[in-house]
Amino acid sequence: MPLLVFEDIWKSYQVGPTVLDVLKGISITVEKGELLAIVGPSGCGKSTLMNIIGLLDKPSSGSYHIEGEKIGYDDDRILSSIRNKNIGFVFQQYYLLPRLNALDNVGLPLAYRNVPKTEIADRSMEYLKRVEMQDRAYHKPDEMSGGQQQRVAIARALVGKPTLILADEPTGALDSSTGQDIMNLFTKINEEEGVTVIIITHDLKIAAQCRRSLKMIDGRICE
């Protein structure tokens, strides 16, 4: 069974009197364990696509299945729960909470699952080790470099053992060598953990390192 199935997804916005179609009938199938890049210039709608894949936004029409389950958009609790358990987000700007140290940041997704405190700390530390950030466990985000923050963010995405990692321009704010390190980390995670990784980027060099890449132009996929 494929992990994700997109069928004829449209997303339109009403801008004044005109209707603006951002996604124009996107159909994708993503298998488990894939390392997939979605590339396209800015403004092609890839962020909107990512928001829909990540259940942060809902399509105007079309259907979306995750592991065979059709997504209904009327119950926010179910959407939140799927985000919490099945999806790990990695953002361009890392989006760590500035008041929490690395360990607590990593543990956040587990905190919303009523996992006991000590277990949260243990598992968070385990995943910090996996991204080689255990030395910085008690540092706050502003005491870390961009690359280090992104590693912590990846640990946070992994800690809940999701089936899908959704990365939106994960190397966009990093210099090329740090960016490459992060890319290597994604490849490693994909191979070692078997977790599906979808990377959204405008960088063709990044896309070239993924086993499959989809080009997106003007709201459409052209493989």
């Binding site: 928001n51 990540g54 936004d57 609790r77 358990k85 909470l97 956040l108 905190a111 919303y112 405190k117």
Partner: protein, 393 residues
């Protein structure tokens, strides 16, 4: 989300934005502080008023001639009053008295002294304690002897009589010998006649000869418990209707007075509480304001949390906990402050300080309620935010 983590979160968030937190705290401290202060002061006043009854006992009644009688020459006769215990069994003792104000001193510097004409029983019924000398007895009939109150003794000292006991004082055209001084009695409330501390107490027979209006309008009585108060009132009323040609009387029992006073006190406390509540509402609006700012400032955080899987209810409870915590800290300081203010009140009035535990429990309860009530709207705003818009901000 685990409550402990939420509490820690709230604490960090509040301590990070210190200035804002302090501003909101001030509002809530003043609000809770004034409610607690006002209620505690109410409790102190009530305690003080009831103390008079505790001291004097509640077996005392006051009998006045009804105001409807005035002008018809109807007033009590001394012997009719004195014979009352013989006819109404439950009346154990009676203490009729008349009073008249005189000024003591010369020229512009004068002080008011309350002259009271009494019988022997007056001292016992009013539980007056003799500090020096002796009390007035019925053997002092028609004699110019007086027993003075503590305040009156001080007035005499001010006018150069170093030892009031045994001295001769001119009061309202007559000269009296001071044969006793009584201890200070608490003023206000209770069944005691007003102004005992500044009184010069003489025998009622002397008073009837010297006072300008020698009518007896009121007397105190000590009663037993055999009859219900309604029956007792009836018996006393009947007695005077029969003996004094239809003289109507008005009997007031200590119980009634206590009830009346307590009703007044409740009203007083309610009023004070209401005044405090206004401050509390203003404080609560301050909390809401601060929470709204906090929500706006933390939009991105809310977006991140939502993306990581926080439910709307998680976000809502996070902010409500923060607001309740703010209010509880403010409430605690407010309770301390309010209690301190009521302590100062007790200190300066020299009344007994009582801590109203009701007020303290109420304070914590109200603080929590204010936190939930004024935190609800900001928390709901936070939880209803669109995660994408929140993330982009």
């Amino acid at each position: 989300m685990i409550l402990g983590a939420n509490l820690k979160e709230a604490l960090t968030s509040l301590t990070t934005a210190k200035q804002r937190t302090i501003l909101a705290l001030i509002g809530i401290v003043i609000g809770i502080g004034s409610v607690i202060g006002m209620i505690s002061i109410g409790a102190i006043v009530q305690n003080e008023a009831l103390k008079q009854f505790k001291e004097m006992g509640i077996d005392i009644i006051t009998v006045r001639q009804d105001s409807g009688n005035t002008g018809k020459g109807g007033s009590f006769r001394l012997d009719t009053i004195r014979e009352l215990p013989l006819h109404v069994k439950d009346v154990k003792e009676v203490a009729p008295y008349i009073n008249s104000s005189v000024s003591y001193g010369q020229g512009r510097k004068t002080e008011g002294i309350e002259m009271m004409g009494v019988t022997e029983t007056f001292f016992r019924i009013n539980k007056l304690r003799i500090k020096e000398g002796r009390q007035i007895t019925d053997l002092d009939e028609n004699r110019y002897f007086c027993v003075i109150g503590n305040g009156a003794a001080n007035i005499l000292r001010k006018f150069g009589i170093a030892q009031p006991m045994g001295s001769q004082v001119a009061l309202g055209q007559r000269i009296y010998t001071v044969i006793g001084v009584i201890d200070k009695v608490p003023e206000g409330g209770g069944m005691r006649p007003y102004g005992l501390n500044n009184a010069a107490i003489i025998h009622i027979s002397t008073a009837k000869r010297t006072f300008q209006s020698p009518d007896i309008n009121v007397f105190l009585a000590r009663v037993g418990t055999e009859q219900k108060s309604a029956q007792l009132k009836q018996s006393i009323g009947d007695y005077f209707t029969f003996k004094a040609r239809g003289l109507r009387v008005n009997v007031q029992t200590a119980e009634e007075l206590i009830e009346k006073m307590q009703a007044q006190m409740r009203l007083f406390t309610l009023l004070l509480g209401a005044i405090g509540s206004i401050a509390l509402i203003v404080g609560g609006i301050g909390v809401m304001n601060v929470m709204l700012i906090s929500v706006t400032e933390r939009r991105k955080e809310i977006g991140i949390r939502r993306a990581l899987g926080a439910q709307q209810s998680d976000i809502q409870s996070q902010f409500i906990i923060e607001s309740v915590m703010l209010c509880l800290v403010g409430g605690l300081i407010g309770i301390i402050l309010g209690t301190f203010v009521s302590y100062l009140f007790a200190y300066f009035t020299k009344w007994e300080f009582v801590v109203s535990y009701m007020a303290i429990i109420l304070g914590f309860g109200v603080a929590t309620a204010v936190g939930v009530f004024f935190g609800y709207y900001p928390a709901r705003t936070a939880s209803r935010m669109d995660p994408i818009k929140a993330l982009r901000s």
